[in-house]
């Protein structure tokens, strides 16, 4: 008997219908974006802000949210912390959905999306391009995640033979599943290097960009595991997984301290600490962002609070907001492409993004109900 179980239950619940409604509204705008209107009709994108919420949320932040599988894979397979293994499969599912929809989200922002296939033709490759690295790496990683998640589907279908042969080579995909996110998550930082002086000095730390991007991605990965496990516990009325999450909280503390040391150390060496108190919009956003980074640190430093599921959830959400704000700030909010440009997403833009998120949640709910994803609950 498998260690995993499908949760079962009714699919058309009330929250599911609400999500469905949001998704239906977004479908209307997607139709306008791709068929009738085009990009200009639905978005506020312009010559200065070529990347809006679609890229910055759906791809840059969305893939970091989808780093749960990556972060746990590092913990379980690299640092051999087998006790977190029950969390891996749901995290891989969340990663698969996050990346697949992040990849799909990139299409919204592509002016000539029908030429997308060109990126897969090696004779078109420009090896100096960060975008190529990100694009190819994300595309391959989606396939790798699908392979990592395939056992759940095969178990459901009862394909024992296929499952057996897949399990023999699965270690290869797990290894790739650690290598690829390391590559493209750090490249998301390199994108900021390429944008040069348009990025606000508080976020433009040049060659430390990839390291910071990678660290926030892993932090957000662990946080999303906290978030997801907590909400699943509440939403599906399952037994609390707090005992496992406490350990993750400890890992987060170490990582978070390292991140803050690097973040402020770099600013100190670059002589930019004064900018934090400049009193302008960027300094306000910086302070807000770092408060959100420090709150989870304070919460998680105490072992008692770490043992409380609610505090873990709050810390996780704070970190997710902090990591998102870090990327939003650098790519969008304090981004300055030159005088005269400004950007705030339009209603259709936001609706499309919300629709994508709604679809992701719906897919997650349906899959955990139908496929053996969640770890079988131990009987007390």
């Amino acid at each position: 008997m498998s260690q995993y179980q499908a949760l079962g239950g009714r699919i058309l619940t009330k929250p599911f219908m609400v999500l469905g409604l949001i998704f239906a509204i977004s479908l209307y705008f997607m139709f306008e974006r791709f068929v009738t209107g085009g990009m200009g009709a639905v978005s506020n994108l312009n010559g200065g802000f070529a990347w809006g919420i679609w890229v910055v949320y759906d791809v840059v932040i969305g893939t970091a949210f989808a780093c749960g599988g990556y972060a746990l894979a590092i913990a379980v397979y690299v640092f051999n912390k087998g006790q977190y293994h029950p969390l891996v499969r749901p995290a891989v599912l969340a990663s698969l959905l996050g990346y697949a929809l992040g990849g799909f989200g990139a299409f919204f922002d592509m002016g000539r999306f029908w030429q997308f296939y060109e990126i897969f033709l090696p004779w078109n490759w420009n090896f100096n391009s960060v975008m190529l690295e990100v694009g190819l790496c994300v595309a391959i990683y989606i396939l790798v995640l699908a392979m990592e998640f395939a056992p759940a589907l095969l178990e459901k279908l009862g394909q024992k033979k296929l499952l057996k042969s897949l399990n023999k080579v699965l270690f290869l995909f797990i290894a790739l599943g650690i290598l690829l996110p390391t590559m493209h998550q750090s490249s998301l930082g390199s994108l900021l290097i390429a944008m040069g002086h348009k990025v606000n000095p508080l976020w433009q730390v040049m060659h430390m960009q990839p390291l910071l991007a990678l660290m926030t991605a892993i932090l957000m990965g662990f946080s999303i595991v906290l978030f997801e496990a907590s909400t699943v516990t509440v939403g599906f009325k399952r037994k609390s997984e707090t005992h496992m999450l406490t350990g993750l909280g400890k890992i987060i503390v170490g990582l978070l301290i390292a991140f803050l040391v690097v973040r402020f150390g770099v600013l100190m060496f670059q002589g930019k600490l004064g900018l934090i108190f400049a009193g302008d919009f960027a300094s306000f956003m910086f302070i807000l962002e770092n408060i959100l980074f420090v709150i989870p640190l304070i919460i998680l430093l105490s072992p008692e609070r770490r043992a409380q599921g609610s505090k873990l959830l709050i810390a996780g959400v704070c970190l997710l907001l902090a990591g998102s704000l870090y990327r939003f700030d650098a790519f969008l909010l304090t981004f300055n492409p030159g005088p005269g440009y400004n950007y705030f997403p339009s209603v259709p833009e936001i609706m499309i993004t919300l629709g994508v998120i709604a679809f992701e949640l719906m897919a997650y709910i349906v899959i955990v109900k139908l496929l053996p994803v969640m770890h079988r609950e131990e009987h007390a």
Binding site: N44, S230, G340
Partner: protein, 377 residues
């Protein structure tokens, strides 16, 4: 002195340059050839070793001596010293101090003594019509002289456009049947350094390569060293962004010309001419000294079938990318929509929903935990 360190003191005396300047020069040449720093040391050692200096026979055909003049005015550190001492220049009609039978005898003697070891440089076109009677030196035709010298040469370099394919002499109607060295010496490999005048750096770099490694650098199908002629002038041109953005000068002195826009519409042949002018410039004095840099379209002097062939101000054939007919406006900045009330509300609701859901879940988690605690107790 360590064993592997080379003695440059002899060289300092010979060339009148100090060791530092000389090594810097070699490093620069190695870098433009795309070779590692170790090659620069190898080059320096090769030049410093008098035994490695190849004898050079330099022939002039139909030409204006432009390539030699360009070489002499090269501003590299004591370049004329270097080129004269780097190689053993046994015969060169412009630079020989002797004259008449004396130098001709010297040439014959050197060619005989250094059979298979000397470097042959050909400058100028070779007229083939009427048995080559249109260019004679010391009573012999250029065709005979070339054939004779090429017979036992270790390597052959055609220096300048005339030697590379005939140059201006070969332009229609070509009354003397002028041709270039590679076309004339069909059975030999000829390294060509086209240009009118050619950039001396391309010549010296290739010769240094020959002296150091004993063979010619990699060449393309027209005999040009790939390190110097591997890219179009257009590719590295500093006016290229104007080309891509559709900003063109249309006549001398117009607004675009004054602002330094792309010269494509004035007939610049950069898009079909392979040379490194746009990255190396000319005369080594910087400051954009090369035709396009000083505001004149490139006329394709180093490209067979372009220079002396296509009219000066006719449009070039763009080998890589043609500019699009339409460009998106980048000036249109006020067009950006601001934040609408609906969008702000929607964003607020989304963030609020996350925070609200978190608070609710946190509460439920607490209840659950206290339940299980009471269960246990």
């Amino acid at each position: 002195m360590a064993e592997n360190e080379f003695d440059f003191s002899e060289l300092e005396k010979r060339l009148g340059v100090n060791r530092r300047t000389f090594l810097k020069f070699c490093t620069g040449v190695a870098a433009s050839l795309g070779l590692p720093t170790s090659a620069a040391v190898a080059m320096a050692e090769a030049v410093a070793d008098p035994k490695k200096r190849p004898p050079v026979i330099w022939l002039h055909g139909q030409e204006c001596t432009g390539p030699t003049e360009a070489l002499l005015r090269s501003e590299q550190p004591s370049l004329e010293h270097l080129i004269l001492d780097l190689i053993s220049l046994d015969y060169h009609q412009t630079l020989d101090s002797g004259a008449g039978h004396q130098v001709e005898d010297m040439k014959k003697k050197s060619m005989h003594d250094n059979k298979g070891k000397y470097l042959l440089v050909i400058e100028g076109a070779i007229p083939e019509k009427d048995n080559g009677i249109y260019c004679k030196i010391a009573g012999e035709t250029m065709t005979d002289l070339t054939r004779e010298a090429a017979e036992h040469a270790a390597a052959i370099v055609a220096y300048g456009s005339c030697a590379s394919w005939g140059g201006v002499q070969a332009a229609s109607p070509n009354p003397t049947g002028a041709t270039g060295a590679p076309q004339f010496l069909k059975d030999k490999t000829v390294l060509t350094i086209p240009g009118c005048p050619p950039n001396p750096a391309n010549f010296i770099g290739s010769v240094l390569y020959f002296v150091t490694f004993g063979k010619l650098p990699p060449i393309d199908d027209k005999g040009r060293p790939k390190w110097a002629y591997g890219r179009l002038v257009h590719e590295n041109c500093y006016r290229r962004p104007h080309f891509d953005a559709g900003r063109f000068a249309t006549e001398f002195g117009d607004e675009g010309h004054k602002k330094g826009w792309c010269l494509y519409k004035m007939g610049c042949k950069g898009p079909e001419t392979y040379n490194n002018c746009s990255s190396l410039e000319y005369n080594n004095i910087g400051g954009q000294v090369w035709p396009v840099g000083v505001g004149h379209p490139c006329f394709g002097c180093s490209e067979k079938g372009v220079g002396f062939n296509k009219p000066l101000f006719s449009l070039a054939e763009v080998i890589t990318h043609t500019p699009p007919n339409m460009f998106p406006t980048i000036e249109d900045r006020e067009d950006a929509n601001g934040m609408t009330a609906g969008a702000a509300a929607l964003a607020g609701v989304a963030v609020g929903a996350v925070i609200g859901a978190t608070a609710m879940s946190a509460k439920k988690l607490d209840e659950k935990q206290s339940d299980s605690n009471t269960d246990k107790s």
